[in-house]
Symmetry: D2
Subunit: 134 residues, 4 copies
């Protein structure tokens, strides 16, 4: 049975830091997106390939609590946990922790769905399969 949790280790890049000397708020959303896409790939769902085929995975809502900022040189872990919320909506619970001391950096909740280029809902078969395995 496929795992519903996933994590990825990354390191702050200096250009991601802003004039306060910490990672700019919007960049956590980039880290979160990258972890979701790597997770999806690990369970057989390729975001780029789906996009080419006209199936668009889209974010409908995002909530992020910022606990503590990352700085230049910090290594960190981004985790995701995937849950089906309704027939066509799924949620990712995501956290970022600093690796040196497991300090919580952000907690996030991302609600997504899947549509075609005309905006009609369409769940990729592989994602439907994935949820049925549980």
């Amino acid at each position: 049975m496929a795992e519903r949790t996933f994590s990825l280790q990354l390191k702050v890049r200096d250009y991601e830091c802003d004039m306060q000397g910490v990672v700019n708020n919007a960049n956590y959303q980039h880290y979160m997106e990258h972890a979701r896409h790597e997770y999806l790939k690990a369970i057989g769902i390729n975001f780029a390939k789906l996009t080419e085929e006209g199936i668009l995975l889209v974010v409908k809502r995002i909530e992020i609590d910022y606990h503590f900022p990352l700085r230049s040189g910090d290594s960190f872990e981004v985790s995701c946990r995937l849950e089906r919320i309704s027939p066509l909506r799924f949620g990712f619970l995501q956290q970022i922790k600093r690796l040196s001391d497991q300090k919580p950096i952000i907690s996030g909740n991302v609600i997504g769905t899947s549509i075609n280029r005309q905006g009609r809902p369409i769940l990729p078969a592989v994602l439907d399969e994935y949820f049925k395995q549980r």
Copy 2:
């Protein structure tokens, strides 16, 4: 009496769009931040100057509902409305609308606070003044 609402008109830049051909989710957070900082400047609060003085305006929580994506060529308006939430926390209600037809693009809610470099809460006098005017 100072206004508590503010809006800014911007235009999508092509590098802000991702492989789906729409503005990448994280970039709306950039638009929102830029509008907040311009708003603060309009009421006498300079984010960059405060940062130099060691007063850091920080985001504690963000919620964004994504209604419809922006595309290459779209012009849009980012609005903010500022409210005091508690002695040390303030909230920005933000919206983005497409200019051509007023279509709602995102709605957001951003909770911020203000700290010094040691992480201690400190509200800039000018912001305190601003809230007292109401």
Copy 3:
């Protein structure tokens, strides 16, 4: 006869600044790209539409001299001048000046070409027309 020079006025956004408190080097490339695309649009060449049609305008070489950095709050002008270099290559001479005092910020030189999705050279008819008008 169409103009071969173009300029655009923009303002620094705080998220574009890095921990040195100045606009991060890579962001000038964003400003330059945005000005080129707006220029092309002004002469009837829509980057996004061409991309959808499978015609890709691509950069082959970029040179940037950094004279002086932009900071939070600075307004600036990005200019472009377009020249044909060879049957399939064109060049943009670009400059950024600070608006308050015309201080030169960067000078750049961008060589581009146009290919299809298979990597074959193909010049959009409208660009060919444009060069022939001179």
Copy 4:
């Protein structure tokens, strides 16, 4: 004797790709910067710490030849080679290769110098030492 070459392996993140489905040109500059900063750290020069101390490593000129684009899923290697050019200027020769087949992606040449907050040239002692070892 310290090494003058350095390389770093990274992977494309989907948000780095633009509407053409390839990594946006400006992002290569980000990859290059990150590799330079990691390289400097490896030889004892911490960009963030120097910035806090008021010593600013700055880019004066950049040249990039774009050979072939990176796409979603590509892993790649960014290499740097550091050379002193004059008493106060140093150059980084940088290359990016796709890992799967060593395909050359970009070649770059970055000229940097080091100044204090007043804009006066100042070479960090450790960098001076480093060059003298050769």
